[in-house]
Symmetry: C2
Amino acid sequence: MEDVISIAENPLLREMCHYVLTNHGKRVRPALCLLAFHLLGGEDSKRAIDVGSAIELIHNATLVHDDINDEGEMRRGAKALYKEYSLGRSIVAGDFMFALGFQLMGTTSNDVVHFVISAAAAMGSGEFDQKKYERNVAADEAQYLKIITGKTARLLECAAKCGAYLAAPDDLESVEKVGNFAYNIGLSFQIIDDLLDVIGDSKNTGKLVGNDLVEGKPTLPTIYAMQDPTYGARVREIFENPSADYSDAAEAIELIKKTDSIDRCFALAKHYADLALKDLESFKDSSYKQSMIDFANFIVSRDR
Amino acid sequence: MEDVISIAENPLLREMCHYVLTNHGKRVRPALCLLAFHLLGGEDSKRAIDVGSAIELIHNATLVHDDINDEGEMRRGAKALYKEYSLGRSIVAGDFMFALGFQLMGTTSNDVVHFVISAAAAMGSGEFDQKKYERNVAADEAQYLKIITGKTARLLECAAKCGAYLAAPDDLESVEKVGNFAYNIGLSFQIIDDLLDVIGDSKNTGKLVGNDLVEGKPTLPTIYAMQDPTYGARVREIFENPSADYSDAAEAIELIKKTDSIDRCFALAKHYADLALKDLESFKDSSYKQSMIDFANFIVSRDR
């Protein structure tokens, strides 16, 4: 990915791309793409690596813009790009990384490009839905699942489908199954991620605990707790309050922990992880299948 | 293009795309794409129309983001998208339109996608270069040409090359020539556009006169005037001043008009229009060639 950045003629633009891409995340999407490719018998992995990297670039581009949209201060333990550089430049740098992602993908098939574009469009819708339910006590589980589908699950699905398709373009049934696996993993992954905002350790997550509450993001732990007969009213009050700070968030978190919300979140995350494992059942055993099973199990047992 | 917007599931997102695309500009890029297609003997124009529309979508996406980056208030006589809606949502809506553009292009060849991606990457660099020389008296003609190459000329070149390539993928020499035509037209077009900020009528341009000066943008009329032995010092002073307002801009404009700057700008615009016409010489006469010649002539005689 570092090679592709060198296309940028402007040194500051290169520096900003470098800032984002070296502070890398877990590289879940390239990993899924490559695993799916090998699961379906793919051999020469060059194209799968390119497509996986392209998806990671596009993912990072959207994170740069999402941080601006959500006024997020930190990303992966470092300052968000727009906080380190300027807002305007960060918008353009995000666009540039988006374009580079498509460039890296350009030599593959139109179907693959189509998978990625659809996921990118879904991400836009997901961000809009999330904004719609910001500080909005009408947020419920169904809306939450719609939001995280656009925000997370569709791009993971896309990464897996691309890898599978590159290996077996004629076996669309298997491509769909691997896609469903990743889709369900994506839902599970995001539920746990949102849970870590409530019960996580900021040393591990790189984000301040209670951040989603301060930002008024409609996440599942809050949604469930708002339905609690005893503590729900106060949680709703804090969630609705546009000037809620980290001490209000800490109060809300204490209340959330008194409800059954956290258990319900884990149960739903487990439900989707189980669905994901079911999607793999028909594939013959291999080390790649085992890696995908491990991956699914890892998701629901992430460091609390 | 309206069809493609309907992919957006979120109604507000659809509304925002609609806001941008119905307040359409001159549709120069689709026109160039289609003219180039027919100039090279293309017949069934469906793909050329799709690619031209895709480029227009991508162009509009970058304008949405550029307005945020440049803090531009107005666009084509209406409020900039981020002024009418929110900044965060406008970033995401721009991304979405960007993705839709690539989606619309997805069924064409990889070469076409590659042309568009390269132009999109160049646009990013152009915006960065423009920022670098904002309120910077070191801006000169060479830097200015580099900025407008990224900002304007490369995407027009791309539109023409795509159209030409779709008609005659094996005649790369002609594809390059048509591309050069559009590239030179692009430089000419932008020089005149920047001149209209100084000598234009806001009723025709849809922008306030002196806007570029207030924003500190390094445009050619200002760059030339800053070199004037008599009036240059005061123009530089205003250009450097971060709190310059429209009355300062009006003063600078009066000074610019006293120098040879405007004549020099017209001369350079004409120079590039002449180069563009030269690029067309080797093509056999046709109504399409005549339209392109008319187009080049129109550029340098735009309503002052």
